[in-house]
Amino acid sequence: MTELPDDPLYRNSLRESLVAIGAWAVCGVYAITYCFLDGYGRDPAEITTVFGVPRWVVFGVFLPWLAANVFSAWYCFRFIRDEDLGEPPEAASAEGGSDAR
């Protein structure tokens, strides 16, 4: 008996999901580490500002946020694949899900 191959949507979704988790980890490690090193326990006299915003906020949060938006654009428009999601079985949803089949 020939084993059926994996559903490509399942494999692609898993890949996209792992990349999303990886992106979250990179953002978290960078933002928390940078803010902790540059913004925690500092005397205000030492804190420089960029357009009135503390530097650690600009480089630890605001700029990474914009970078995350650039990543999101790549992720949404380049990385995620368009696939057919299928159609729901009419009888199943109308009559109580797959139990009714």
Binding site: C76, G96, G97
Partner: protein, 750 residues
């Protein structure tokens, strides 16, 4: 600057925001904005109901026929996840703790990618394969386990009902704040005074009638349009609400920055602000409200006034350490100010001191005044500590007590204490002519009761920069390591991004999009939307701290800032934003609970062959009934509401995220593993909060536990992941046909 006028006026008069509305003659603006907004919501519900009649009821009522487009998906996702907390709790935290909230909310930079990207495409496909309409449906069908479906339904309804009580309260408060000064509101509230009276039987602190009226209006509107219009009405109103929120925040950013003169100004000011940490020793009980305790710090020939930032309560012969702010604003020479020559108490006013003055005699020639005084508690006033003025006397004058006054209790606690006292009046009093020389015609007003100064002394002090507002980890009054230590910063990065993916209201939206193209575009739209909402919110409320530095209730920071900086009609539009945020969350949760009951419990477990007509009626009735039950709970909501919102968010994520992730992506996953993951996540998270309530791992006045310095959501997620994997591996592998159905291509490759 134009916008400084109302802000400074608020501070000078101490008037509430609605009072300012009344003064300016534009108090009807929020009412008009609210009514237009509510009317638009009902129009949307009517259109949705028409669609509902043309399509399969269950698919349409609970899932919008899986036909959400880009804007519908983006806005319903964004608006549902931005609850009332985004416009009340979050601004309050920024107002209190400053720039550190930028890190607290930082994970929203990647929230859409995580929350939509981790489960999105796959949950939509699995739901289509099985015909699932709800989240419990997915579990039930994927494992063919009715028990799993019912368990998921019950836990979902449990958490969401708790959350809804808190959200209903937030909605009621907003309506009460906006409308209570309008003609007719007070009269209408009087008509329902029987409601708080009824609750006084069950509770020692029944709600006020004006709050109950706000709750009835809010609940009536949300329950009606949700029950009538179903999922599509909720989604379309979410679109409307999302637009209102975005426009409101961007307008507020412009008005606030104009009012403060730019961020450079406020950050430079913040750097030169100092705070004093002072230990006080009390010789009497005291209970002093914000700003009512004044110290004077002397540096050479200069003095600075310090005022308490928070309410203080202290028992006789104890000491406390209090943070004081420099009331005169930034200090020109911060280095010199760090070493004062002395700090003394110059005024302390106890919030409980209510002294009544009954005039006995007054001689304008000698300016001597005698009176009988009554007071409710033991009090000792040295000379000069009680000042009295009079209503309607020309010329105006003030009295100060000449001798010491003592109210001493002799017996019962309820005893009203009396004392006689003589006063000396200011010179203007010599020109006063009393009718018939009768002092009893005077109407005295007690201006100042400064009873505690003599009973308080400064034991030690430390003056330092208020760096907590512009650097980490931020001020926390009870927490020695600050507002956001490293462990909590990590916890919140997990909390918002990862646990957001575990919310059933998010999952159900991901089951409803039309195509992957819609899904991708909506995800990016939400990224931009969050950027335009959360970064401006941080900037706005850092600036608001400088516009309105002495708010007693930081959770009103949004409303007070809007009223201070925005012109009337636009203020109404902006104030619709927090209301829209609460509404958009409430309607989604309401529908999620009702779908659990109707679809998962009734239709799939009790009566699978129920007619569409019967399901339709049951759905309307359930949505209505759930709304009424939650409204009943919100009449007298429990304490720690913000904690309940965090608990339910964390609890839902701990309960559903790991089981759902493995359900979608792990072929070896079994119903036993799924059940173990759900139970372990729920019990770990909920159990830690129960321990927090009992005092373990938590701080005074904060029931949120922090075992090992991180939030319960971290432990709950870890327990759920471990239990899901172990439970699956220890149980028999899943049936081959289920694996084939959900994981394999339909046809073998040629």
């Amino acid at each position: 600057m134009r916008a400084e006028w109302p802000a400074s006026r608020l501070l000078e008069t101490g008037s509430s925001a609605p009072a300012l509305f009344a003064d300016a003659g534009f108090r009807a603006a929020p009412a008009i904005a609210f009514l237009l907004y509510t009317a638009a919501v009902f129009v949307v519900a009517i259109f949705s109901h028409r669609l509902l009649r043309k399509r399969s009821f269950l698919q349409e009522y609970f899932l919008g026929s899986r036909g959400l487009g880009v804007w519908a998906l983006a806005m319903t996702y964004a608006a549902t996840s931005a609850s009332g907390g985004s416009f009340t709790g979050f601004p309050a935290l920024i107002y209190e703790h400053g720039w550190i909230l930028a890190l607290w909310i930082a994970s929203y930079m990647i929230v859409p990618v995580c929350c939509m990207g981790i489960l999105g495409k796959r949950i939509n496909q699995v739901a289509r394969k099985s015909g699932a309409i709800t989240v419990p449906d997915v579990f039930r069908d994927r494992f063919r386990s009715p028990a799993l479906g019912i368990l998921a339904s019950l836990l979902l309804a449990f958490f969401m009902a708790f959350n809804l009580v808190a959200q209903f309260k937030a909605g009621a408060i907003i309506i009460e704040r906006l409308f209570r000064d309008l003609p007719g509101y007070a009269s209408a509230a009087r008509l329902i005074e029987w409601i708080p009276q009824t609750f006084s039987v069950f509770s020692s602190s029944p709600p006020e009638a004006s709050y109950c009226l706000g709750l009835l209006v809010f609940a009536g509107a949300v329950i009606a349009y949700t029950a009538y219009g179903g999922f599509r009405a909720v989604v379309w109103t979410d679109v409307l609400q999302g637009i209102v929120m975005l426009v409101g925040v961007l307008l507020l950013l412009v008005f606030t920055l104009r009012a403060v003169g730019g961020l450079d100004v406020i950050t430079d000011l913040e750097k030169s602000r100092l705070r004093a940490t002072v230990t006080l020793v009390a010789g009497a009980d005291f209970d002093v409200l914000h700003d009512d305790l004044v110290l004077r710090a002397r540096f050479g020939d200069r003095t600075w006034e310090l005022r308490n930032e928070r309410k203080i309560s202290l028992a006789r012969n104890t000491s406390t350490t209090v943070v004081f702010l420099f009331a005169d604003g930034p200090v020109p020479d911060p280095d010199a100010a760090r070493a004062p020559d002395s700090i003394d108490v110059v005024q302390a006013r106890d919030s409980r001191d209510r002294i009544r003055v009954e005039p006995l005699a007054f001689d304008p020639r000698t300016r001597r005044f005698s009176a009988r005084l009554t007071c409710d508690r033991d009090l000792s006033l040295p000379p000069g500590r009680l000042r009295v003025s009079f209503d309607g006397v020309d010329p105006a004058f003030t009295l100060t007590n000449e001798n010491g006054i003592s109210f001493a209790r002799s017996g019962a606690e309820e005893e009203v204490l009396t004392a006689e006292a003589s006063f000396i009046a200011t010179p203007d009093a010599s020109a006063v002519a009393l009718p018939g020389n009768d002092a009893r015609s005077l109407v005295p007003q007690v201006e100042t009761v400064d009873a505690l100064t003599a009973n308080l002394r400064v034991d030690s002090s430390r003056i330092e920069p208020r760096h907590n507002l512009i650097s980490g980890p931020g001020l926390h009054p009870e927490q020695g390591d600050g507002f956001l230590p490293f462990g909590l910063a990590f916890s919140f990065f997990v909390m918002w991004a990862i646990s957001g993916a575990g919310q059933p209201t998010t999952m159900v939206r991901l089951m409803a999009f039309e195509s992957t193209k819609v899904y991708r575009r909506a995800m990016f739209s939400v990224c931009i939307y969050y950027t335009l909402i959360y970064i401006p919110l941080v900037v706005i409320f850092v600036a608001a701290r400088h516009l309105l530095p002495n708010l007693d209730r930081p959770d009103m920071a949004m409303a007070e800032t809007v009223l201070a900086v925005a012109p009337g009609v636009l203020a109404g539009v902006i104030l619709a934003a927090p209301f829209a945020a609460v509404m958009s969350t409430v309607d989604s949760f309401l529908l999620a609970i009702s779908s659990s009951v109707v679809r998962d419990v009734y239709q799939r477990s009790i009566n699978p062959r129920a007619s569409e007509q019967r399901i339709r009626r049951l759905s309307y009735a359930t949505t209505l009934l759930v709304g009424l039950i939650v409204m009943f709970g919100a009449f007298n909501p429990p304490r720690f509401l913000q904690t309940i919102i965090v608990l339910t968010t964390a609890g839902l994520a701990c309960t559903f995220l790991a089981p759902m992730f493995f359900t979608l992506y792990w072929k070896r996953m079994t119903s036993t593993g799924c059940m173990a993951g759900i139970v372990a996540g729920f019990s770990t998270c909920f159990g830690l909060y129960v321990l927090g309530w009992l005092g373990a791992f938590s701080l005074p006045d904060d029931v949120t536990p922090h075992p090992a310095g991180v939030l319960p959501v971290i432990w709950g997620l870890a327990a759920s992941i471990a239990a899901t994997i172990v439970g699956s591996l220890l149980s028999r592998p899943p049936p081959e046909d289920l694996v084939t159905l959900y994981f394999k291509r339909a046809e073998p490759r040629p």
